[in-house]
Structure formats: structure tokens, C-alpha cells
Symmetry: C2
Subunit: 179 residues, 2 copies
């Protein structure tokens, strides 16, 4: 399973590709940051984010894209840009038919550190350990993107089982109705 | 000047094309709503908004796209979707090199009714009168999209003069430095 994690943002959009399956050592395929100039027009910044994400999709051909779920309770000044950058990432994936998963920051933290309230340093340290890197990826947005990809790989089996159960239930319900 | 106004939203994204110049009667070229199903996945909804906006751009070839500026103070439940739909509209325009202008709801209301606090009915009534329509466009999102386009046509001369003044000032400043 190859996953592109995206930590959305207009100034710095973290991107990281991880390959592996739950229960086996994971491999980092690539990590980076898509940056756009703060003084550029919003529409041009969104275009630059799109071009950056497209390049990552072209180069690494992920099977899933995991994006941080943005909440409006966050920092009011930056949340709109974050929501808009996440929309661009989701759109790029959907256009290629790549499934998109959203994970909350606390789901991601809990997945890689065991605590939904872990700080940036702890997430960076665990990402470094889990991917057997020489040092924590910089900036933090890049590490967060890798953490998102890891979270998705580890949560996917449970989510798939859930989806299968829902699908089975739907079949039974339909049978029930036609009987 | 032909302007596509976009009242962004995931469930209903209002779109309206108006042609004209400030100080002359305006003409409505088209109006409608891009809808996406509330039960679809977010990434698929964004894709549907993109396809809808692209169709309007293809069909009407506007020279400007005017999008409502989204504030995070608004209804927290819907603001994220609104921000994300607006990102898709801006992105579609930027990809084609069409200039994007953002106008706040109160700027739009003030432009078409004279009051930044006008209600939906008042905006609808003025849009109907200014575009010489037989009845107010429905739903309100469609009327708001037309109001955005009208607002842009009327504000553009002032904005252009401002940009020209800034450009002139920049030239003088450069001259000053090189002298």
C-alpha cells in the first residue's frame, strides 16, 4: 500500500509518501514541502499548490491520499487557507480516481505516538523511528505528512473491515426487503 | 466586461454571468446552480463543483471571475465547505489565467442595494431590477452569484484606478531610487 500524506497549508503544504502494510516495517518513498509565496494572490497560490501536488502524484503514483481533516475551531486566521489547500489536494486525487481519506490531527498523533495529545517533537521523533530515518524530517509539516500516511496504513485494515461489514449489512438489509 | 460571479457552496454553488460596463444597463448572460449530493464523499463533491465551474467557463468565457470572500466567523458547520468550494472556483479561473476578484458579502449587498446589511429578498429584488428580469432568480444562491458579478463590474473602475495609481507610484519610487 503506497500512501501520499498531505498536511495542507498555503505557505507550506507538507507531502510525504510511505509504502507498507500494517504490522510490517514501513518505507519512506519521499518527503517534501510545497511552498507558495505569502504575497501572491490567493488564486495563484492555490494553482501553485495544485501544480505541486500533481507533481507528487505523477512521480510517486500513490494508491491512497490521506489528508488532514481541517476543523474550523483552529486558528481562525489560517484555517481558511488550510481548508482551501486541503480542497486542492482532495480534488487532485479525486480527478485521478485515487481514494481520499481524512484523518484528524489527534487520530494521527494517537496512531504514531499512542497519544492524541502528543506534541510536534514527539510526532517527529516517532516518524523518524518508524521510518528508520537518520534524523527527523524538517519542517514539521513534512513530518506531519509522513505521520498522516503512516496513520492511514495502520488504520486502513480496521476501516476496510468496517466498510465490508457495512456492505454485508446493506446486502442483508436488501435481501430482507426483497424476501 | 463579462464576469462570472460565484456564490461558493458544496450543496448549492450559485453561478451567474453578467455583461456590461459601469454606468450602462447590464445584461444577464446566464444563471444557475452547481449542486452536489450531501451524502457523497467530500473529494467527489469538490470534483463535481470543478466540473460544473469548468462547464460554465467553457460555455461563457468570462474575462473575470468574482467569488464571495469567505469569513471564518460565519456558520462554523458550513464554512469549511464554502471555503473549499471557493478554492475550487478560484483554481479553475487561475488555471485559465482569468483574473479572480474576491468581494465580501457586505460589499456585494452595498453595491446592489446601497446597504451592506440588506437581506436576501432585497438583493434578489435589486438583481431582478438591474438585469431587467421577469422575476427574481431562484434559489437565492443564483441571485447572489449575479449580485457578485454586478458588484465586480461596478467596483472594477475604482479598483483599476487604484492599481494604476499603485503602479505609477512604484515607477516613481524606482526612478527615485535609480536617480
Amino acid at each position: 500500500m503506497r500512501v501520499l500524506g498531505v498536511d495542507p497549508g498555503l505557505t507550506r503544504c507538507g507531502v510525504g509518501v510511505v509504502e507498507g502494510v500494517a504490522g510490517r516495517p514501513l518505507t519512506m518513498i519521499g518527503v517534501g514541502v510545497v511552498r507558495t509565496p505569502a504575497d501572491a494572490e490567493l488564486s495563484h497560490r492555490l494553482l501553485a499548490v495544485e501544480q505541486g501536488i500533481e507533481q507528487w502524484l505523477d512521480e510517486h503514483r500513490p494508491e491512497y491520499v490521506a489528508v488532514e481533516r481541517v476543523f474550523s475551531q483552529h486558528n481562525v486566521r489560517t484555517v481558511m487557507g488550510t481548508a482551501q489547500a486541503s480542497a486542492v489536494a482532495m480534488l487532485c486525487a479525486a480527478r485521478r480516481g485515487i481514494p481520499v481519506a481524512l484523518h484528524t490531527p489527534s487520530e494521527v498523533k494517537a496512531a504514531v505516538t499512542g497519544s492524541g495529545r502528543a506534541d510536534k517533537a514527539q510526532v517527529g521523533a516517532m516518524v523518524t523511528r518508524l521510518l528508520r530515518l537518520a534524523e527527523p524530517p524538517r519542517p514539521a509539516d513534512a513530518a506531519d505528512a509522513l505521520a498522516l500516511a503512516i496513520c492511514h496504513i495502520w488504520r486502513a485494515p480496521a476501516q476496510n473491515r468496517l466498510q465490508q461489514a457495512v456492505a454485508r449489512h446493506a446486502v442483508h438489509a436488501t435481501k430482507g426487503r426483497t424476501a
